[in-house]
């Protein structure tokens, strides 16, 4: 019987102004159930103000064997980093 419930990925927003962050996964029978379980498993200690659940099967992930072609070409593109100007004071979450 256990193992029949599909896997869901859980994203929690810690507070207003921040984006939802992946916190883990869980099993649930349906979307409403997944939201309940996410609330019970991942926000018991006031970790968030908003929860998203996504069927794990709906996520398309990059393959580990594509790592070289996907990510290595960015290694020497230093001009892509916004490091040539100063971040104004008070901008905390850039």
């Amino acid at each position: 019987m256990s193992g029949e419930w599909p896997l869901w990925e859980v994203f929690v927003r810690a507070r207003r102004g921040l984006s939802h962050t992946h916190v883990g996964s869980l099993h649930a029978a349906d979307a409403g159930h997944a939201l309940h379980n996410a609330r019970d498993l991942y926000t018991r200690r006031q970790e968030g103000v908003s929860v998203w659940v996504v069927p794990a099967a709906a996520i398309t992930a990059s393959a580990p064997e594509d790592k070289a072609s996907f990510f290595d070409p960015a290694d020497d593109k230093v001009y892509r980093h916004p490091t040539f100007y100063e971040v104004p004071e008070g901008v905390d979450h850039l």
């Binding site: 019987m1 869980l26 099993h27 349906d30 159930h33 309940h36 379980n37 019970d40 498993l41 018991r44």
Partner: protein, 262 residues
């Protein structure tokens, strides 16, 4: 902090708080019994959260009942050192966890009642009770939603789950009326403004439960209320057979090791 006008009022409020505290304590203990037996680990955590919410409601209610009673009994004395006939919880909350559907049926029928009760009690003239109620109503909103989702999932699930959910509703249904029946203590507390007359909560309960049953494809059981000897039940200290076993398990550590602490 004072309530009403005299010792008679305090005694009625104490008795009323004992009824509320016992309902929460026993409902919480029954829910805690299921933890580790849920279909998935995730559900165990959900049920444990609910059990702890109920225990968290019971503690200040029993503490306040002991204060108003004025006989030096604290929450532990009331929870662990009373015998079966001294408990004032309604019979619904002590019904055993025969299967998961029975747990959910009890949980649905009780949380729909308790949610309406605490919404009304947020205006209690007893400050402690009003405070507990204001916090509890949010917890019970969630409990009711949790129970409703499971009732729909089981009722509208497989042939087996629907049959079990219907059987569980049949088992719990005869104990519904007791929740809405005022005894003299409840009536006195309602008259003083500390409590509410539970009969007034029934229409909201009916529509909440009927909506869940309709979505689940389940029918309201056509069963008469269970009447105890002389019309007495849990509010008079007359309990069901399994209640003694519940108390034995809940109380034995405290009774075996009086005053133990960690």
């Amino acid at each position: 902090m004072t309530t009403g006008t005299g010792p008679g009022t305090d005694a009625a409020t104490a008795g009323y708080l004992l009824r509320l505290g016992d309902d929460a304590l026993i409902a919480g203990h029954r829910m805690a019994e299921v933890v580790t037996r849920a279909p998935q680990l995730e559900e165990d955590v959900a049920l444990a959260n609910i059990a702890l919410d109920l225990l968290g409601q019971a503690r200040p209610l029993l503490t306040r009942a002991g204060e108003l009673e004025g006989e030096g009994r604290d929450e532990d004395t009331l929870a662990y050192l009373r015998d079966e006939p001294e408990f004032r919880n309604c019979l619904l909350v002590e019904l055993p966890n025969t299967d998961f559907a029975h747990t959910i049926a009890r949980h649905l029928l009780f949380s729909c009642y308790a949610r309406e009760l605490y919404a009304a009690l947020a205006a209690s003239t007893d400050d402690v009770l009003a405070g507990v109620a204001g916090k509890a109503v949010k917890e019970l909103d969630y409990h009711r939603d949790h129970a409703a989702q499971w009732t729909v999932r089981l009722g509208d699930g497989t042939e087996e789950s629907a049959a079990r959910m219907a059987a569980a509703l049949d088992a719990a249904w005869p104990h519904v009326d007791e929740m809405f029946t005022a005894d003299p203590v409840i009536s006195a507390a309602a008259a003083s403004g500390a409590g509410v007359d539970p009969a007034g909560l029934r229409p909201a309960w009916d529509s909440a439960v009927d909506a869940v049953l309709a979505e689940a494809g389940l029918h309201r059981p056509d069963l008469p209320p269970q009447a105890g000897p002389g019309g007495r039940g849990g509010r008079h200290g007359l309990h069901t057979q399994s209640f003694g076993f519940l108390l034995a398990e809940m109380q034995h550590v405290h009774r075996s090791h009086p005053g133990a602490a960690w």
